[in-house]
Symmetry: C2
Subunit: 200 residues, 2 copies
């Protein structure tokens, strides 16, 4: 906390190696590849959890807010990839409601199914669509925790007007999680809350 | 986003008027008064939602991380009071696990029951205890939404080793919410997700 009364989450410069802010990423697979690339780079740089996310402008298909898991480098247990992507998008747009401009809906893309916190954040963000790669069970298989979510969280989001697309490049997304295990990535955790660390 | 790749949440200087970082706040009521003062000031300054929170060091009873709702001033839909308090505490301690030092457990105090996102964040933070003022229904009564939480979220947290204390100065806490309504505070919302805005 530099001034004593703030916190900052900073994305690494190598985000530029994987995100071209001037080009469109038209398909769900195009969008997923971007966040999987971010997740893989986060692993390779030993920069934190194996999770990537991004908010896209649905009209231009461009990236508004990229995100990777910044829990470890920012000493912030809430700095999951989705939270970072949403917050960066808000900061870039200068508005807390990413859907405030009705003519420009937005999509949140997550390399792994959002944990309870990030799922809770999704409706607050104003995005119209959530696209997901790996499933909860893929994350749990390598020891990450997702927290307590509604059993039918997809129906919950859809009931709030948010479209959900699952299993986009799921195999590749699960491979990213396994890569983290293979390379001995730190399994961060919160001491008092059990054996298993949070996802995303 | 100042550099294009970060976001910052900054607490207002007036936090100093309500938080004395050098004194202990021993009881649950002492702690709750601090966060209710922060919530009231946030209303008076028209600075955002009527919510305050803080992370306390259980050993010294001092404030580690104060928080108010910064959704509007920081253009960040995830900047609820609890998220801010947790993130500021992590930044001050330089660790993402607020319970990492086993000899210094921490407590999160929230002026209103955490929404789904903030509830999801609570186990990830490493706090040992959650103290709550107003209830969900108090927030819903003035039009705020809490999202979808486990029916027995208290048991869920307790099952993860987090103690929960409800209804601490609940009447005063509910009064804070009503004050927000009375003074015509902005009911921020996310466009695509229904009529009701997120809590906290």
């Amino acid at each position: 906390m530099t001034t004593g009364f703030e916190f900052t989450c900073t994305l690494p410069e190598w985000v530029h190696d994987h995100v071209d802010f001037d080009r469109p990423y038209p398909t769900a697979e195009d969008k997923m590849r971007v966040v999987l690339d971010l997740a893989m780079r986060n692993i390779a740089e030993q920069h934190g959890g194996p999770f990537g996310a991004a908010v896209f402008d649905d009209t231009t298909d461009r990236v508004i807010g990229p995100g990777v898991n910044l829990v470890i480098p920012s000493s912030n247990p809430t700095a999951h990839a989705e939270i970072v992507a949403i917050a960066v998008a808000g900061a870039r747009l200068g508005q807390y409601d990413l859907g405030a401009d009705g003519s420009r809906p937005t999509t949140l893309v997550a390399s792994t199914e959002p944990c309870a916190m990030c799922l809770g954040a999704t409706p607050w963000s104003g995005v119209s669509t959530l696209i997901v790669g790996a499933r909860d069970e893929d994350a749990r298989a390598i020891g990450f925790d997702e927290g307590s979510k509604p059993d039918d969280w997809v129906a919950y989001l859809e009931g709030r007007g948010i479209g959900v697309q699952l299993d986009v490049l799921r195999d590749e997304a699960a491979d990213v999680l396994r890569e983290y295990m293979r390379t001995g990535g730190e399994i961060y955790n919160a001491t008092d809350t059990g054996e298993i660390p949070p996802d995303a």
